[in-house]
């Protein structure tokens, strides 16, 4: 049965190694399937599938998936990127003993991204959002025995946790006042003030996920994971926030102040990212800050009301970034393309300015003649102009400029026009509500002014100019190099507030007791005992799943002074149980937290921040525990701590001789279990009714 499943599943088609088939066109097979899937989905567009998960007095939870052009497009894009990265990592991580674990985690991440993309209500989106977060945490922790990898994964998870709590509250607000959470209800905009609150909360969580300004600090620190993880994250995951905002576009447009907020956050992030990128020397962090600025640019486009452009940008950026990341090893020999000229040739700059003005203006006019008008915001046209100008400059500086000039002008003109045509096509297929009056002239002009000043300074001023040697400039660079000291304060206030507390053991035991209490609380409100049974099943499944896929192998041969760092079954159970405390979807504590937050909104709104903070603090503590006692190599502490805990908590499922089981067999079971757990988690309907 298992063999059959594996033989005929989709995974064989997209497995890591390219198929050993002679004709090359057969390698296109999975992509052909993608196209078929795409056309199938486009035909289905407009249909919504809804499943009631739980519905009683307290919980009105339902999944909903809707197929529409936007989600189909995004799904195809993410699958395309994901399949390629999956194949890449199959060859790239061949020397890694835990490669299969990595591959499965990659697939799980992809599936959760897929769920998020297809979702048509806030709860489903939230669940996808959370699954992405947890899977990414596990992926970033691939080398869990490196404390650095651990720290960066933890940082990412905690910062995202802030946003998750906001999203969570938004979902509960929706269930309280609308009794359901679908996007269409929000988009109708019946309750203006409530919608503003919900959308603001969602935007805050988007800020944490898409690395917007005060929450961007986790992004550049994620280089401790294998390169494919970075590629997937920067290409397919980080832009999920943009997609969510695009889905909520009709209701966002009804709130101009919020749009102004979005615009300002986006532009600040964009400026910061560009500045930070300047002082980086190493390739991967350069790419990370570039992603940050690109995400800022995308959010800025959303703030301007250009949703189509934002979606288009998100896709093109994803494709570009994935290529750059996967190819990052080849940047060692950097060919210095433009020599540092001491004096600028102003005549040349003048030529390029004239040419690029003509190119940009004419391509915009031509699209106006032939098709509908694109978003047409002046600020974005400015960026287009800058790009074309840079292109023309590098053409004009070539030796063979005389023969290249005309073809290159033609080329860039065609490319620009094609871009505008693509935008129009996208606009027609996705049908965004698009309003011209949404511009914020004052703010837009301010950003435009800053960018024009910056660009003209870089264009016209020589490098030897005395302006660059002033103390002000030096101070600015020192400031930028220290990232405006943002991370320092983040570290002190949010990441590690409990650095000096002792006696964590007490806290853990307390946590376990509270988990038991929370679960008993459910019993009072769930008279049909559905939830408790469901949560027991999922808990068991989670335990078994992690037992099999547990990160137990060391990467390489241990050397003399280094110890074998293994996660014993005990520790794995502990880590999973700890994860179950913080209210991830499909764990029992999810319902508990849901209930607590809902009650506090209804009866004691003042306690809400305290409760949300307590969840965040608990997750911080949990991650600290995971890092200090389970993942890192503080052996003395670990042994002491584990021996003192009651043995029966872990001893029940403890296998005596884990070496005996065949790894191949293990993989098969894990494969089966993943599918089973997915079925179980996504369609509990079959179990209950």
């Amino acid at each position: 049965m298992l063999q059959l499943l594996e033989k005929y599943s989709v995974f064989t088609l997209i497995r890591s190694r390219p198929l050993k088939i002679k004709p090359q066109w057969l390698a296109y097979l999975p992509y052909g399937l993608l196209i078929v899937l795409g056309s199938f989905l486009f035909n289905l567009s407009g249909e919504e599938y809804k499943i009631d998960w739980v519905s009683n007095e307290i919980f009105q939870l339902s999944f909903a998936i809707k197929i529409e052009p936007l989600s189909t497009l995004m799904l195809l894009f993410v699958l395309f990127i994901g399949i390629n990265i999956y194949q890449y990592s199959g060859r790239y991580l061949l020397s890694d003993p835990s490669q299969s674990r990595f591959q499965y985690q990659l697939l799980l991440t992809l599936l959760s991204v897929g769920l998020f993309i297809l979702s048509s209500n806030l709860l489903t989106a939230f669940i996808g959002w959370q699954m992405i977060g947890v899977n990414l945490y596990l992926l970033l922790n691939h080398y869990h025995y490196h404390s650095n990898a651990n720290r960066s994964a933890k940082k990412k998870f905690i910062i995202n946790r802030l946003g998750d709590m906001c999203f969570f509250t938004a979902v509960i607000l929706c269930t309280i006042y609308y009794q359901e959470t679908s996007f269409s209800i929000l988009n109708e905009g019946t309750q203006h003030n409530l919608n503003l609150i919900i959308l603001t909360l969602i935007f805050i969580s988007v800020m944490t996920k898409s690395a917007q300004f005060p929450f961007h600090t986790w992004l550049p620190d994620t280089m401790e994971a294998p390169t494919p993880v970075s590629a997937l994250m920067h290409a397919g995951i980080i832009n999920a926030g943009g997609l969510l905002l695009a889905k909520l576009s009709p209701s966002l447009i009804q709130h101009p102040p919020l749009m102004l907020f979005i615009l300002s956050i986006g532009s600040i992030t964009f400026l910061m990212g560009t500045l930070f990128k300047l002082v980086q020397m190493d390739t991967k962090r350069q790419l990370a800050y570039s992603t940050m600025s690109q995400m800022g640019y995308m959010i800025m486009q959303i703030g301007l009301g250009c949703f189509t452009t934002a979606v288009f940008h998100l896709i093109t950026h994803g494709l570009y970034k994935a290529t750059l990341f996967l190819d990052s090893g080849s940047t060692l020999v950097s060919k210095i393309s433009r020599k540092n000229e001491t004096k600028k040739n102003y005549l040349l700059i003048f030529h390029s300015l004239v040419i690029s003005t003509i190119v940009v203006v004419s391509s915009i006019q031509i699209t106006k003649i032939f098709g509908k008008e694109a978003d047409g915001v002046l600020l974005l046209d400015l960026f287009m102009f800058i790009a074309v100008n840079e292109y023309m400059l590098s053409i004009l500086k070539k030796k063979e400029k005389q023969i290249t000039l005309f073809p290159s002008i033609l080329f860039i003109f065609i490319a620009c026009t094609a871009y505008y045509f693509f935008l129009n096509m996208l606009y027609e297929t996705i049908f965004f509500t698009h309003q011209k009056n949404l511009n914020h002239p004052a703010f837009e002009n301010l950003i435009g002014l800053i960018i024009t000043a910056w660009y003209s300074a870089s264009l016209f001023l020589n490098k030897n100019n005395t302006l660059f040697k002033t103390n002000f400039f030096k101070k600015l660079i020192v400031l930028i190099h220290n990232k405006f000291y943002i991370e320092l304060y983040f570290q002190r206030l949010i990441i590690a507030p409990f650095k000096k507390t002792n006696g964590r053991r007490n806290i853990i035991i307390y946590l376990f007791l509270s988990q038991v209490l929370m679960n008993t609380l459910i019993l009072f409100y769930d008279k049909e005992n559905k939830i408790i049974i469901y949560s027991l099943i999922t808990t068991l499944l989670f335990l078994i799943l992690f037992q099999i896929n547990k990160p137990d192998k060391e990467f390489f041969f241990s050397t003399k002074k280094e110890l074998k760092n293994k996660l014993s079954p005990k520790e794995t159970y502990l880590s999973i149980t700890l994860f179950m405390l913080i209210g991830l979807p499909f764990t029992p504590s999810f319902f508990t937290w849901f209930y607590i937050v809902k009650m506090s909104i209804l009866y004691a709104p003042k306690t809400l921040p305290i409760i949300l903070m307590s969840n965040i603090l608990i997750s911080i503590i949990v991650l600290h525990i995971l890092q200090d006692y389970i993942f890192t190599s503080k052996y003395n502490l670990r042994e002491k701590y584990l021996s003192s805990l009651p043995k029966y908590l872990f001893g029940i499922l403890h296998r005596d001789n884990p070496k005996k089981t065949n790894t191949h067999y293990k993989e098969k079971i894990s494969f089966f279990l993943i599918i089973m757990s997915l079925l179980l988690s996504f369609f509990p309907y079959f179990f209950f009714y």
Partner: protein, 790 residues
């Protein structure tokens, strides 16, 4: 002791770290080679945490599998005791020591000791120490950033320290006050801080060692930049400045922040850790305690074996088995029947990978093969304007005096236009404010490149090749131009040496191939480590072409004939290159007609070698796929598992499978009555080979310090090297993927075993003349065996 002297003394523990684009294998402890290997490691173990050997568990495993035999172990114990001036060792005591070495208790004690060392917190893990290290690493990166650095460089003489001082003053007011307490003169500050910290003069060297051992990569780069003739220009980056910055940080921590770091460092310096000896190790084991009891002679001898020596005794016992096997294999054959007429002769590089090719080539026909260092007597600096690359085409020890540049005058207009249009996109993307719209305009088309690169589609490769690389014909044309500029007279001595040491002074066949080697891979920052070491980590084909052109030249031949070298009537020298990734041989000239049977046999031999090699590679894919696959971290195993070097005629090793583990250098003792050629070999190629061997050895035994870590998380610093993860020291040595696969060792760390087929007097004379060569063998960094020719 003088400060400057103690810095130079302390810097001996640093390796010379070559920038990765032209990285060269180096013995990381080369400056300490006068001392025996185990003493060097024991003395510097507290700074660098190196072992230089396998773990106890692995030796135990080897012992169980009979890869370390009882006899060999006994021999190596004997040798060790003799070295330590134990004159009389009674047989029964030797026997009981051997029993201790064979016992499980010793291994368990060693394991416990390893555990306790790993658990102990050293000062290098002190969080203030790590903080200082990280802030310095961040600053080094900023210092090398060309975008930003020009703001600080008002005075072009400003070095690392001045820039750092300016940076710190701008950053923090506390640092401004700190610098007010110190004098302004840079040369005085170091003395000032050292006196303020109240450090005894004896402790200067250990203090500097603790500082420098944290920055092996960057400080090694600074050490490299002292070399006179470097292919890249590097900024003012000196060891003095690195040390000075570290001392400033240390003093600042002591003065302002009330950190206990300084006290701990002082404690660490004043009470150096003593290594345990065998007796102390076994003292707690009851089983062995009984055996030792009251046997005072045994206790005395045991006390002289310290813990590092135990590991090296096992190591040399393990190596001994290989040595005896190899010597048995290579007994000189008597009465070799004169073979048929030789069709062609091949001169290969001494690289281990050529050994397999030579073995297979000789089976296909009547061919004669030789080995010589891969630069083939041509030392020059190349400025390749086609691939925008500067390189030193010579071994690292030598300095070339000739500069050549390679240009290509391609006149294909269409190609020029297309390549310009494409490259301008890349250039425009790297500017500050343009990437946003550039991504939007061209991002959609990138999907095709992304996909075809990932699937490694051939038509895509051909497309990029056609656009961005010159046509082959034009390439060869420009090569000929390049050759015409050279004055051959400088090479004649080198070429004479090449022909004589190989033994090609007469009986030249019609075709003599000079075959260099190079590798081909994609997206791999470590490409230089796969290339020819004798050509300075570059493709050796240029050297082969140059050597052939010189040897085909009439005037050169005349002058060589004056020195009693007899060229055949129709002898032609043909350059070729062996692609080590695909094992294919490419002929690098168009002007000679080569008989088809030779070409056929060449491809047959390369096919045989490819078959043999593919069995060992992890993914059983064709090499054509591997060479252009951007996801492949292990395109080939390069020189992994190298173990020996054989200096002698090919007759010794003919028809014998040496498993691609040996460097084969041709040498005819009868042509060298005075031993000059042998001297040349033992002072240049031997040392390069020793470096290669030691680099692999230490990368395999101490991957954390002398290896560059996991390739999957490497973060490239353009034109300098790689870091691991977010921030780390610049990495030195080979990555894990070059010496390990999963949990298996691909490279078995063995010290070099040199077999020389020459007279013993010659060898001894040379060793006496060159002390550093002698110390390699005396300190057991490598082993030697001399075979007397009859």
């Amino acid at each position: 002791m003088n400060v400057a002297l103690s810095i130079s003394e302390a810097s001996k523990i640093l390796p010379v770290n070559w920038p990765l684009p032209a990285s060269i294998a180096v013995n990381p402890l080369w400056d300490l080679v006068e001392k025996p290997i185990e003493r060097v490691i024991a003395e510097n173990g507290s700074y660098l945490a190196i072992n230089g050997s396998l773990s106890a568990e692995e030796y135990h495993h080897l012992l169980k599998k009979d890869k370390i035999t009882k006899n060999d172990l006994k021999k190596s114990i004997c040798e060790f005791l003799k070295k330590n001036k134990q004159t009389e060792i009674p047989e029964n005591i030797l026997h009981s020591i051997l029993n201790i070495f064979l016992s499980n208790e010793l291994f368990s004690a060693l394991n416990k000791n390893e555990l306790s060392i790993a658990r102990k917190k050293t000062i290098f893990q002190h969080h203030d120490m790590i903080e200082i290290k990280n802030s310095m690493l961040e600053f080094f990166l900023l210092y090398f950033n060309n975008h930003v650095n020009f703001h600080f460089s008002e005075n072009p003489k400003n070095g690392l320290f001045e820039t750092w001082k300016e940076y710190k003053i701008l950053k923090d007011k506390a640092w401004k006050d700190f610098f007010k307490t110190l004098s302004k003169d840079k040369s005085i500050i170091k003395h000032e801080i050292l006196t303020l910290l109240n450090i005894n003069e004896n402790l200067y060297i250990p203090l500097f060692k603790t500082a420098l051992s944290q920055f092996i990569g960057w400080a090694g780069l600074a050490k490299w930049s002292l070399r006179p003739n470097n292919p890249f220009s590097i900024k003012n980056f000196s060891l003095d400045d690195i040390l000075l910055i570290w001392l400033c940080h240390l003093y600042e921590k002591k003065q302002f922040e009330k950190s206990n770091l300084f006290n701990e460092i002082k404690h660490f310096l004043e009470k150096p850790k003593k290594n345990k000896n065998l007796y102390q190790l076994l003292n707690k084991e009851p089983f062995i305690k009984e055996r030792i009891k009251n046997n005072f002679i045994l206790i005395n001898t045991i006390e002289k074996i310290d813990i590092f020596s135990i590991y090296f005794i096992y190591q040399s016992a393990w190596e001994k088995k290989y040595h005896s096997q190899l010597i048995n294999l290579i007994t000189p054959q008597q009465g070799v029947a004169p073979s048929k007429k030789i069709e062609a002769q091949f001169i290969f590089c001494i690289d281990t990978r050529s050994e397999g090719l030579r073995r297979h080539l000789e089976t296909t026909g009547a061919y004669q093969t030789f080995g010589y260092a891969g630069f083939f007597g041509c030392l020059f600096e190349l400025n390749d304007k086609i691939n925008h690359k500067k390189s030193l085409q010579c071994p690292a020890i030598v300095e070339p005096h000739i500069k050549l540049s390679l240009e290509c005058n391609e006149k294909n207009e269409f190609k020029n236009i297309i390549s310009n249009i494409f490259s301008a996109i890349k250039e425009a993307k790297d500017q500050q404010l343009s990437p946003f719209s550039i991504f939007e305009i061209f991002g959609i088309y990138i999907a095709y490149f992304f996909y075809s690169k990932n699937q490694n589609i051939k038509c895509f490769q051909n497309f990029t090749k056609k656009i961005f690389r010159p046509d082959e014909q034009i390439y060869f044309e420009s090569l000929e131009n390049f050759l015409s500029k050279i004055d051959y007279s400088q090479f004649i001595e080198n070429l004479y040496c090449l022909l004589r040491s190989v033994g090609l002074t007469e009986n030249m066949s019609e075709y003599v191939f000079i075959c260099a080697h190079g590798s081909e891979m994609n997206n791999n920052p470590f490409q230089a480590t796969y290339e020819c070491g004798a050509c300075g980590g570059n493709n050796g084909s240029m050297n082969a072409i140059l050597a052939c052109a010189a040897l085909n030249d009439h005037s050169v031949r005349k002058r060589l004939e004056e020195r009693s070298i007899r060229f055949g009537k129709n002898t032609q020298f043909i350059p070729a290159v062996h692609n080590t990734t695909t094992d294919k041989i490419e002929i690098l000239t168009r002007s000679v007609n080569i008989p088809e049977c030779i070409l056929k046999n060449l491809s047959k031999a390369s096919g045989l070698l490819q078959k043999e090699r593919l069995k060992t590679l992890p993914s059983q894919k064709d090499c054509d796929f591997k060479k252009s696959d951007w996801a492949d971290m292990i395109p080939e195993w390069a020189l992994a598992n190298n173990a020996c070097m054989i200096i002698g005629p090919r007759d010794l090793t003919q028809n014998k499978n040496l498993e691609r583990r040996s460097f084969l250098h041709s040498y005819e003792p009868c042509l060298d009555p005075k031993g000059e050629i042998l001297e040349n070999i033992m002072t240049a190629p031997l040392i390069v080979v020793h470096w290669i061997n030691m680099q692999y050895y230490f990368s395999a035994t101490d991957p954390k310090i002398y290896g560059s870590g996991n390739k999957a998380i490497h973060n490239v610093v353009p034109s300098l090297g790689v870091m691991e993860g977010n921030i780390s020291d610049l990495k030195f040595g080979l990555p894990l993927q070059s010496v390990f696969f999963k949990e298996k060792r691909i490279h078995e760390p063995r010290r070099l075993f040199v077999i020389i087929y020459a007279k013993k007097e010659h060898v001894n004379k040379i060793l006496d003349k060159h002390k550093h060569v002698k110390s390699i063998f005396e300190g057991e960094w490598a082993f030697m065996h001399v075979m007397e020719p009859k």
